[in-house]
Every structure is written in structure tokens, then in C-alpha cells.
């Protein structure tokens, strides 16, 4: 949902700047027409709407998930470019930037938000009925349906939650960079897939957890930083990330077929 990050961030920025006419205020100043929480609300709302649309297309209209994802990738990026006219929207006030750049003690605010959500997601997935339903729908949707679980509702709700988190992440990103732009989040889709698969999530559904995803993200971060420190060209970095993704999915496929023997 890299392109949705761009769109959500831009919508938040447009709201903060007071509308489309005032949006191109690069370097003009940091006074905002609306407070940061309106921008956050707008950003999250767009994420929720996009998540709902994706979920409904997949469950009710039976469009294959990868088609919806690819279609969304193009449509949301195009809308982001339309909204921003291709340029960045930047210059936010201190309160806005604090969400992305501020600290409580030594801990950056984005890290605190991240910790809150990983704890919340871990609890929901591991200890609640809803979490159990998510795993069962991922593992065997037909078994879940025959057991009386409303699988469409579960699938739509996961897309809505993803949309919400994308909206939140988009707002944090724009606050951290003091700028929202249509090219934000470019290539995040592949990074996310690589991180979760390396972290033990199965692309075939039903397996994975938050702890594994965090380890995957850390490994991925160390790898990316390491490549930069080793002065590896960004072109070669892309090749390495692609190879890791293919290897991780191959391993996942192999372990999945071993389970079914």
C-alpha cells in the first residue's frame, strides 16, 4: 500500500493547509489553517475508505486480491499526483512535526506509536476470538466458513485495519519529513512483503506473528543500513532485496509443502 501512503499523507497535508488552493506553500511558512489532528483524521479516513473498497472488491465482487492491489497501486498513486499536481506539500507547524520528529525522554514519538500498535496487534492476534478467526480464515477459509465464521466480514475488517494503519503511518511520515508528496512510499510494497515473509509469515495464509514480523523488519533494516555503510550502489541494493524476497517465498513454499506431506 505504498501509493496509499502517498495519498493519505497528501490528504492530511491538504487539510492542514486549508484546502487545495492553499496547498502549494513550500517555504511560505508553517502556519496551518487547521490543526494537526484534523490532518490525522483526514489521512486515517482515506486509509479506512481505501481499505473498505479493497476488502469489498475482493470479497463481494470476487476480484482476485492481487488485481485489486495492483489496481489500487496505480489508482491511488494517480490520485496522489492529481491532488499534489506532482509537487510536494511541505512546511508544517511545530505541533504537526512533533508527531514525527518529537521525543518523550529519549524515545521518538513514532517509536512509541509503533510499540503501542505492535503490543495491541500481538494481543488481538494471539489472545482474542477475532485473532483466532483471522488465522483460521488464512489457513482454510472453507473450514472457517463451514464452522460458521463470516469469512467475508473477517477479510473486509483486516483490509480496513490495514487501511487505518496506512493512514496513520502516512501522517507520521509527513510529520517526520515535514513534507507530503506523491512519490512517498514508492516500493514499500515489496519491502513489506520481504519483511513479513522473512519474519515467518506465510504468503499462503494462516501463519505468522507480530514478533516474527518485528525480527524481519529489524533484519531488513540492518541489511539496508549495512549495504549503505558498505557503500553498495542503490541499484545493487534493489537486486539484493529482490533476491531475498524470492528466496524467502521459496523457503515458505517449501516448508508449506513439507507440512502437507
Amino acid at each position: 500500500m505504498g501509493s496509499l501512503i502517498a495519498l493519505c499523507g497528501l490528504v492530511g497535508a491538504v487539510i492542514a493547509k486549508g484546502g487545495l488552493v492553499e496547498r502549494f506553500s513550500v517555504g511560505v511558512g508553517t502556519e496551518l489553517a487547521n490543526p494537526w489532528y484534523w490532518a490525522l483524521a483526514g489521512s486515517v479516513l482515506i486509509g479506512l475508505l481505501a481499505g473498505t473498497v479493497n476488502g469489498v472488491c475482493i470479497t463481494k465482487l470476487k476480484v482476485p486480491a492481487f488485481v485489486v492491489t495492483l489496481g489500487g497501486l496505480s489508482a491511488y498513486r494517480g490520485t496522489a499526483l492529481l491532488v499534489s499536481d506532482g509537487g510536494p506539500i511541505s512546511g508544517f507547524n511545530e505541533a504537526y512535526r512533533w508527531i514525527g520528529q518529537g521525543k518523550i525522554g529519549m524515545v521518538p514519538i513514532p517509536v512509541i506509536i509503533f510499540l503501542v500498535f505492535i503490543v495491541l496487534c500481538h494481543i488481538v492476534l494471539k489472545y482474542t476470538v477475532y485473532g483466532r478467526y483471522i488465522y483460521s480464515v488464512g489457513g482454510n477459509p472453507e473450514a472457517a466458513r463451514l464452522s460458521g465464521i463470516n469469512i467475508d466480514l473477517i477479510i473486509i475488517s483486516t483490509y480496513i485495519i490495514t487501511g487505518f494503519l496506512v493512514g496513520l503511518a502516512a501522517f507520521i511520515l509527513s510529520a517526520r519529513l515535514n513534507s507530503a508528496e506523491a512519490v512517498a512510499g514508492m516500493g514499500y510494497e515489496l519491502n513489506v512483503i520481504a519483511v513479513v515473509v522473512v519474519g515467518g509469515t506465510s504468503l499462503f495464509g494462516g501463519r505468522g506473528n507480530i514478533l516474527g514480523t518485528i525480527i524481519g523488519a529489524m533484519l531488513f533494516g540492518v541489511l539496508q543500513n549495512g549495504l549503505v555503510l558498505l557503500n553498495v550502489s542503490s541499484y545493487i541494493q534493489q537486486i539484493i532485496i529482490g533476491i531475498i524476497l524470492i528466496l524467502a517465498v521459496t523457503f515458505d513454499k517449501f516448508s508449506n509443502s513439507v507440512r502437507q506431506v
Binding site: 483460521s136 472457517a144 466458513r145 463451514l146 460458521g148 465464521i149 507440512r259 502437507q260
Partner: protein, 245 residues
């Protein structure tokens, strides 16, 4: 003479898929402590009939009575709430989840949205041990268990949910000889517990071993319902193939 006490009465059931008639005027009933076998070729309508009773498919026309009360079964959960449990050919278990999670799938025990994992594990263990099913680890995903163990989980789940009607779709099809025998023992145990069972099977020996009556379907129509003690295996095979004895 005492009237039979039916727990299930399916009357004049019709079902079509895109104009193709899968069931034509099928009527079948089931009593307590009775096993009714449903046999027929592939495409005879066996699975369609049980999917209608289990709430997985809606019927086009006809009526269903559970304990003499007419019902409209809207979905599998509704069927389960009425005491109709189904054990599907492909087991309907989530292979990625452990024994207890599958045992209580769709019927999780919780307190304020939080799962009572310990309780569910103990209960599933208790029921399976009562069924004399030995499972080494209750924590592994059921994908790692044998076919017989998985079938036992599905049957145990039905028993735990106090099923009045049990529908078994090819319960021994994917099992080895020893495991099939074990499932057979379970069917005989269940018969003694006031449960009525519909048994779908391709195995004519299974049908004669377990069933009190045998319903034969052919091309979506009910050809005959026989008392199993009054017919031979050849009669039933002839009914399946030709539609006559």
C-alpha cells in the same frame, strides 16, 4: 403401533445449479439411534443433500423439519445451533491451528473477547481421551497429525457440541485400515448416545457395517430406501448402477 420419532425430516427437496437439477423431489428422514447411509454415484446428489441440511447450501424448494418443527437453515452456524454437526470429507479443519483451536472453531470459549485457551485445551483433551484417541502433542498444528487423529478431532467436536444429528461425509475415505476401524468404533459408540447419523460413503462394506437403513440416490433422485438387513450388497449396487434391484 408406536409412531417413529424422527429428528430429521427432509421433504420434497429440490435444488438446481445454473439450470442443472442436482436434487429432484428427495424426501428422507432420520430417527434417534439410527444410522442412515446415503449412497450413489459421483454427482448423484449426496453431498448436495447433506450440504442443504448442514446449512452450507440453500434449498430451492421443499421443507426440513427438525424434531417435528419446520426450520429454514440459513447457514452452518444456524445448523450447528440446532444440533446438526457435519464431518466433511475434507475434514473442515484449519491445518495451521492446533487441536483445541480446531475443536472449538467457530464456537470459541471466551471471556470479554479473550480466548480461554487453557480451558479449551483441557476440554478438547478430555473429550479425545474419552474417545480413546491418543494425541502426543496438542500444541502442534493439526496438519502434522494423522488422518485418523484429524477425523477424531472432527467427531469429538460434534460430540462436545451435543449434536443430535451427525452428518458424516466419507469419514473413512482418506484413512488407512486401522484408522478406518477406529472411526468405525466411534460411529458405533455414537449410535448409543441418542444421536442420529447420516453416513455418506462409497464403501458398500462400511454402509452395511454401520447403517440401519440405506438411501440410494441416482441422478439427483431418490431411487429407494432399504432396511439394510433386508437387502444384499448386490441389490444395493444394482440400485446404484441401474436404479432397480
Amino acid at each position: 403401533m408406536e409412531q417413529p420419532q424422527y429428528i430429521v425430516q427432509m421433504n420434497n427437496i429440490y435444488k438446481s445449479f445454473n439450470g442443472v437439477k442436482a436434487l429432484k423431489d428427495v424426501s428422507i428422514n432420520l430417527q434417534k439411534n439410527e444410522v442412515v447411509g446415503i449412497v450413489g454415484h459421483n454427482g448423484a446428489g449426496k453431498s448436495t443433500l447433506i450440504k442443504i441440511l448442514s446449512g452450507a447450501l440453500p434449498k430451492d424448494t421443499g421443507s426440513i423439519l427438525i424434531e417435528n418443527k419446520q426450520v429454514e437453515i440459513s447457514d452452518p452456524k444456524h445448523a450447528r445451533n440446532m444440533g446438526i454437526e457435519t464431518i466433511y470429507q475434507d475434514l473442515a479443519l484449519a491445518g495451521n491451528l492446533d487441536v483445541a483451536s480446531n475443536f472449538f472453531l467457530g464456537n470459541e470459549k471466551s471471556r470479554f473477547f479473550f480466548l480461554r485457551n487453557k480451558f479449551m485445551k483441557e476440554e478438547s483433551k478430555r473429550v479425545l481421551q474419552e474417545m480413546k484417541i491418543n494425541i502426543k502433542s496438542y500444541s502442534v498444528p493439526v496438519d502434522f497429525l494423522s488422518g485418523g487423529q484429524r477425523q477424531a478431532i472432527a467427531i469429538g467436536r460434534a460430540i462436545y457440541n451435543k449434536a443430535k444429528v451427525l452428518i458424516m461425509d466419507e469419514p473413512t475415505a482418506a484413512l488407512g485400515i486401522e484408522e478406518a476401524r477406529r472411526v468405525g468404533d466411534l460411529i458405533n459408540q455414537l449410535k448409543k448416545q441418542d444421536i442420529g447419523i447420516f453416513l455418506i460413503s462409497h464403501d458398500i462394506h462400511d454402509v452395511f457395517d454401520f447403517c440401519d437403513r440405506i438411501a440410494i440416490l441416482k441422478n439427483g433422485e431418490l431411487v429407494d430406501i432399504c432396511v439394510s438387513d433386508e437387502v444384499t450388497k448386490d441389490d444395493v449396487v444394482s440400485l446404484i448402477i441401474k436404479g432397480t434391484k
